[in-house]
Amino acid sequence: MTLSNNGCCDFLNIHYEKIEIYINKSQFYSSIMLNEVKDSGLQNIYFQKIIQFGEQEVVLFDLNAFIHSNFHAVTKGSVKLCFVSDVSAYNRTIKEYLKSDIIACLIPSSSEIKSIALRELKLLPHVLSEALEKKGIIACSLCSHTISYLIDLEKVLSFAINTKVE
């Protein structure tokens, strides 16, 4: 994805009470509504379900639960939307864990695509930024009573997989 002429970039904007989450639009390529779920057999509570995507069964990453528990975010509305990402270029840990090049991520249904000017994003304080970047938080934006966090899906997946949450 290229920067538009007015210095903006497209993000998936996931809405929570007082917190917004941005995910770069280049990190997913499709979306589906939550359909019939089955157990994945994986122990990690964020990866316990699989859904049907076309003719494939793909692991469902409960990104909403991850954000809820780690960001103390309160969900707005229903949680039935999934975006689909290609993880073939992601690190080996992720691909070996999922045993697939595709993952679906569960998010609140009120999410939308939003064009955001890069000048609205700020790096986190230097003393914190490197450590937080490893866990997937790479920038933020502050507006009156709301904070928005730009997260990196690959780093979030790595962190979620490596966190013992069973």
Partner: protein
């Protein structure tokens, strides 16, 4: 645009870190109240005091980092020294913004008491540190009070160690 390009773009727009401030200890200090206790900060490292800013929760950080506040659109970390010193959260709404545009750090405080000039005779450097002095490099004597001077560098080192 990939996230790595976004990060590079944001870093290139960030202002350069200021030249090292020659902090002349032993001159002016800002005395603040944190809970019931007084602490001092060298006046040269204090940028400003702000009030009533909402603290936004920031995950994956040590418990003494309460979150982020918005200072003119820039995120500043909020360090609760009362949690660091005595494991008790401070209920307060004032923040000391430190003069360091790279670290963007603030301390939450109960109140700012005064700015005072301290003679060098009344500044006592701590030579042999024990645990309770771990975050102070000196103390000042003012109106019969012995007030510890917070060593910001040690706070930063503690944060870095805890984040590793």
């Amino acid at each position: 645009m990939e996230n790595s390009e976004i990060i590079d773009s944001l870093k290139s727009n960030q202002s350069s870190p200021p030249e090292d401030v020659n902090v002349k200890t032993g001159e002016k200090f800002v005395i603040v109240l944190i809970g019931e206790k007084k602490f001092a900060l060298p006046e040269l490292i204090v940028q400003e005091i702000i009030i009533e800013n909402e603290i936004h929760y920031l995950p994956f950080t040590p418990h003494y980092i309460r979150g982020l506040i918005n200072r003119q659109g820039e995120p500043y970390s909020v360090v609760d020294l009362q949690i660091l010193f005595s494991n008790q959260m401070l209920e307060a709404k004032k923040f000391v913004i430190l003069r360091n545009s790279v670290d963007k750090m603030s301390f939450i405080i109960s109140d700012i008491l005064k700015i005072v000039f301290i003679n060098s005779n009344d500044i006592h450097f701590i030579k042999d540190q024990n645990d309770k002095d771990a975050y102070f490099h000196s103390s000042i004597t003012h109106e019969n009070d012995e007030i510890p001077v917070v060593d910001v560098q040690k706070i930063v080192i503690r944060i870095q160690d805890d984040l590793e």
